[in-house]
Symmetry: C2
Subunit: 503 residues, 2 copies
């Protein structure tokens, strides 16, 4: 992390941006929920109205396809609307009211009312691979905005012009709908991002990227004079386990779905299946090779991803005991950009264990490893030998297939991933209330929450209780007349009669 040349100027800039966010924080946090929701909806509409220009710039900067980018922009707009509904619903406030109870078993209980409030300014480190959905107006940004937190996005260097335009479109829409100036800002450069994460006005950080960078940033967050929470989405290899019965039932669909999931967005997805465990490579190899060789060449996101992919691909192709199912291609052009078609290799499970040093790390690009296992009963032990935490784990079973060993494998996955899939493929994460995108280390730096779906709002909230406050002094969600109509969980007086100290 090298400092920019003019560090005085940078400190001044950082302070100015942080101060604007800090000034916006109490105003945005106390903006009426209907207005905060309307501001998010306005941002969604503004993104859609600028779709043509945004997608054009995104295509230039990332080389992702128009179809993919239009879909991602739509997803980002829908996500803003979904969080607007979350705000209006109000369940996220987790309102709890203890009624005054003179007969409480441990002595008179005061009137206590608790809910969740916004943390304050958040710095969000944007990802390279989702220039809309995990970037300036992406998941963590909208979750923080919905919670009532101003957001400073550290733009990814892979799409600076898109970041600037997105920030302008969204900030203008937010402010036009009544949000205070400084509610959404963007900064550029690694050193500025780190300096912002260290700034006293910042109350939380979020990040999507590599394990290495995520570990550095989480250490920065934990080492501050005042430590802050840091939510990093890091690395994942998303193993998929296929039974013999599933292959007997639908080998072609599995082969095709696998290649589609690996090849989509040139394999640059955090949920790309990195390992496909099958009882027989032979049974699928032909179909996989056919599908893979039909996939068009795609450009990788940027030269540094191209170079990292080249190194990982070479290491995997050169590892002992690895066979090629579909070699695919990678060429790096004069500008350093990488162009690739899917590379699918295979190996035996025992060899994967032996060559784990070469084979296990995430290969960020269109490459996956088909692993042949000999004993379905050993899959849980194999998984335990190979994998730490992952975002996802998938099982492909036949209809009604059931063995104790499968139950063990599903239990193991529950302990080690954030989302367990039955059939289907982990890419294409739905933005919904029940989605979980996050899992045990190193999938995320903190697996208490999600970075996709409306439950992500909880990252940017903290509880506050009011004891014996007059009604007029209480925030609206805690009042008896409940003017916002939010769900209130009430503990009535007298409830302790049945469970008090009995001795």
């Amino acid at each position: 992390m090298t400092a920019p040349a003019d560090s005085t100027l940078t400190n001044h800039e950082i302070d100015a941006v942080a101060s604007a966010a800090a000034a916006a924080a109490p105003l945005w946090a106390t903006t009426h929920p209907a207005q905060r929701a309307a501001a998010l909806v306005a941002a969604a509409s503004a993104l859609e109205q600028s779709k043509a220009e945004l997608v054009r710039i995104a295509m230039e900067e990332t080389a992702l396809s128009e179809t993919r980018l239009v879909g991602e922009l739509n997803r980002t707009a829908v996500q803003l609307r979904l969080f607007a509904e979350t705000i209006l619903d109000g369940a996220y406030l987790d309102v709890r009211i203890d009624q005054l109870d003179p007969d409480f078993v441990l002595g008179p209980r005061p009137d206590v009312r608790r809910y969740l409030v916004a943390l304050g300014p958040v710095v969000n480190f944007a990802a390279s691979n989702f220039p809309f959905a995990f970037s300036v107006a992406g998941g963590d940004t909208v979750a923080a905005l919905a919670a009532g937190c101003p957001v400073i996005v550290k733009a990814h260097s892979g799409h600076p012009r898109l970041s600037a335009l997105t920030a302008k479109v969204v900030a203008t829409a937010l402010e036009g709908a009544g949000a205070p100036a400084g509610t959404l800002q963007v900064i550029y450069g690694q050193a500025r991002g780190v300096a912002m994460l260290e700034h006293p006005s910042i109350k939380a950080g979020s990040f999507t990227g590599s394990i290495r960078a995520g570990r550095i940033l989480s250490t920065v967050a934990a080492s501050r004079t005042v430590p802050i929470p840091f939510f990093g989405e890091l690395g994942s290899v998303n193993p998929v386990f296929v039974t013999a019965a599933a292959i007997a039932e639908r080998a072609d669909a599995i082969a095709e779905g696998f290649v589609t999931s690996v090849a989509g967005s040139a394999g640059q997805l955090c949920t790309k299946p990195g390992f496909l465990f099958v009882p027989s490579v032979q049974a699928l190899a032909g179909m996989i090779a056919a599908a893979a060789s039909a996939a068009p060449e795609q450009r990788l996101l940027n030269p540094s991803i191209a170079e990292a992919y080249r190194a990982r691909r070479d290491a995997i192709l050169g590892a002992s005991g690895v066979s090629t199912v579909s070699e695919g291609s990678l060429r790096i052009d004069a500008d350093g950009q990488g162009w690739a078609t899917p590379t699918i290799v295979s190996t035996a499970a025992a060899n994967l264990v032996r060559e784990r040093g070469a084979l296990l790390d995430e290969a960020f690009g269109p490459l996956s490893i088909v692993v042949e296992y000999s004993e379905a009963n050993d899959l849980t032990e194999l998984a335990a030998q190979l994998f730490d935490g992952n975002l996802t784990g998938t099982v492909h079973l036949a209809d009604n297939e059931n063995t104790p060993a499968l139950g063990d494998l599903i239990d193991w996955l529950t302990d080690h991933v954030g989302r367990v899939l039955f059939g289907g493929w982990p890419t294409g994460v739905a933005v919904t209330p029940a989605m979980q995108h996050g899992g045990p280390w190193p999938a995320t730096s903190n697996d208490s929450s999600t970075s996709v779906g409306t439950a992500a709002i909880s990252r940017f909230l903290r509880p506050v209780a009011y004891q014996n406050a007059p009604q007029a002094r209480l925030p609206e969600p805690l009042r008896d007349d409940n003017p916002w109509g939010v769900p209130q969980s009430i503990s009535p007086a007298g409830e302790s009669r049945s469970w008090g100290a009995r001795a």
Copy 2:
């Protein structure tokens, strides 16, 4: 943190304890909720049945009064029952179900079901000052047990015999009610505690103690190969702000309540009011002095607390611009035990700002500082100059008193404490669903949760989602037939029609 002499033996011990907890984890996490709740109730009854012996040992080891210790044991038993109810209620599981929706605005939405699962083994560092309620069977222990996590308690050195007996009583009751062996264990010694926090089988840590020790342990937790969450309750000075109108209304009650709150448990409470802001010391000094001088001498918890209190008290009494309201006493006996009566001093607000180096740190013992302010309108600015995060902040107002400045002060408190009290005193924390005990740094290392009240269960849970799982493969709380009858938040198919991409 020095290592014990025989580190080989210690490593073996640590491994054995951690392995027992790890072996218990899947069994305890999947114990039927009715049985897990019954086990907590059995533990509550067992504590009550051993009350005489437990309280006797606690009196010997801590010198806290019988009344206080009996009350604390009752609180601890009630707390176990309250968490049993929390388990049975099931709302803590935060069940979310997205119905399969072929018409979802972003393309077909899978069936996704998410809930919270137990993290796994937890190490809980017990406190000195609550030998029952923040110790072996205390708040963090019961919250983790309720969540389905085995607990290893690092006993506080101040009450080792009590810790051993409590662990025996509670573990026997839990196991008698069907909990697996290893569900609750206790270890002794600082080095063993640190080694346990570093052990790969441990999934979270909790702590109640000093800022210094809490910072060390939170760094240990964050620096592990696999970082884990760490919930430390550290230091707090709990400022109380009294208006002139409140004094006009009830000076005597305020003076008496203040001294009672400062003197209780010899001031060794994390919510003891460390600063009382009043418009005139003169108006209260006589009443405070009378109440303070009537308070009996009490023994401090242990020699190291006595020595730390001596140093803080000397520093405060010797600081410039500090006057004595009631000098009180402190004597240290031949065994190093401290015996104290309340010490109340006063100073001007401007002097507190000047002498902050000597005066602001928490004095753990029966000492508090009355601060005379000249302008009620300046209280918010004064608070901002003086205080970081605190567990509590209190305002004493007259009936219906209302000024914009008071609104500002309450807003400032909301941003900087976990619980805002209107009248009353912060000591005597109610164990209830709405309680919040935790606040911004340095009150806690992580202010996303509480260490008192049933919301504490969230510390020890993480989310997992199942996508397109057959009903038979789903955990009970996620099934359509909902055999446990837990609250399920369902997103129905078709709900996106009204808020889809509109452009």
